[in-house]
Symmetry: C2
Subunit: 343 residues, 2 copies
Amino acid sequence: MTAPYKRIATEEAFAPPEMVQAYFDLIDKDPHVDPGLKSAWGYFGRNPSPRALAIRERLQDLGARRIADMDAAGIDRQIIALTSPGTQIFNADVGRHMAVLANDQLAAAVARHPDRFTGLAAIAPQDPAHAAREIERGVNKLGFRGVIINSHTNDEYLDDAKFWPIFEAAEALGTPVYLHPNTPSRPMIAPFLARGLEMAIYGFQVETGFHALSLIVAGVFDRFPKLQLILGHLGEALPFWMYRIDHMHAASVGSGRYKNWIKLDKSPSETMRENFHITTSGMPWAPAIRFVQEVMGEDRVLYAMDYPYQYVPAEVTMSEQVPMSDATRVKFFQSNAEKLFKL
Amino acid sequence: MTAPYKRIATEEAFAPPEMVQAYFDLIDKDPHVDPGLKSAWGYFGRNPSPRALAIRERLQDLGARRIADMDAAGIDRQIIALTSPGTQIFNADVGRHMAVLANDQLAAAVARHPDRFTGLAAIAPQDPAHAAREIERGVNKLGFRGVIINSHTNDEYLDDAKFWPIFEAAEALGTPVYLHPNTPSRPMIAPFLARGLEMAIYGFQVETGFHALSLIVAGVFDRFPKLQLILGHLGEALPFWMYRIDHMHAASVGSGRYKNWIKLDKSPSETMRENFHITTSGMPWAPAIRFVQEVMGEDRVLYAMDYPYQYVPAEVTMSEQVPMSDATRVKFFQSNAEKLFKL
């Protein structure tokens, strides 16, 4: 598994056992529990299948088992982030507590394995001011190299300006924000849930693509032009829609259709190419990787495994065999991540 | 604009004036009107911008203006279908009436311009038995070459087996079903609507990709293995998700996650490659067209303009300049459509 580059996996997850227990408490005791949490953690947390069991055990390990898995799959370094839905399912009090707890646990693990682990800061967007301070603590005190946000926060999206202190802090610190999937928010999940389409088969990508597009339309990248947003799963299909999004955005702005839409400094596709980075998590598929490299540029596409949800060592080989030049492959596995995360 | 092939545009829309008026009646008089209809037809029907005005006029023309537009853009033939949301916003009584009315108007226009127009049959899925009969009338009496369905029918999806007489009739007659976008159904539209993302910038593709995937998961193509489904907009991104859909479907079936999921005869991607045709409507963009040709096969990707919503003659030239062999270009503009629609 040696290669003329380091393999840096950039969307890798962990869960503090205390948070898993808190999810179970919500599922068991809160009659108004988020239906997405109930589906996701009812499965990952309690389904008796070997797949679910392996995922929940691996998520809670930041030591020997994770290192052994990385060795077996040829992964040199993981960029590790609090798993979905993170703190964002709790009220602000519990959310703050879980963010700090998760960051302290992750920082300790990174300190034990500095040559293998890099951390992203968890935050509780429920309290934007605290979240901004936790980003600063994460970057300046704990050595983290970015921020993880697991899409909606109790059904709210970051296009609401009340959340923008989070983007302000990330931009000021020059650290990227990873917008990771969650199940669709309550006001859109019902049809997905009725069909088993609420998670990674379709709902995750709808929710997260929607969220990222809403940030563009709301002018987040006019307000924070240096902000870098990371999307997994090859960009949640937004690269596929680039042409149509540009066309329809221009047409609607041109005809004054939506009063709350503003004319943006850049087209949506320009924003994607200047403010987005894309990882391959769970999509080790040559046609799609090459397509996204073509439309986003090879400097903005990074390898990710999606450990432990998609711990499939054969997919590392698949990713390695995607046709690209040797120089591009070094960017893909190593140097794009080194640059983005300041490794 | 002459070329060594005919340009057949395969997702082109019309609206009977009576149906437009009925939409206005719903918007003005029904306090429970579908919010997607209100958004779409509030804009297309009444927005004073040149874009909306041109769309509503062209939609209602099946004569000289349409022919002149086709000539100006170099389109030899349009495959014409009742525009979204068609009959599917009405109760069953009005739906049946509108389907028959639309089919009679379209058949008359095709009879006047048989060398330029081909029709698809409108139906009212609200009454599946009537819909099946109208498909038969459309194909056998009116000379139509397929069926148009504009996604959800008053928030219901065709994965419900009560609708399957529609697929049974289409399969028996060997005629394809075009699953065209609509705004998202009520139980998912709210977050889209709040941000102006409910239409072709994002909501259409979420709604329609969701609908098509739900048909696969429900086993529609096990039950009707010869059925051909057509998706526009380069497949509503389902081709982009092929690998992930296969992976997650197999993982969930393997771990017994959803009790109502069945093991399918074919993987979702095999179903897409054997039971789907894809048109380019509104996506005249070389990287995405080439990607979809690569993963679906060049025999299953067809040119479409999306007239009159995206009547942009320069996009015909863009489509023509997409790198492909001369033989593939003939398939793309002409012979794939001739074969699918039995022209």
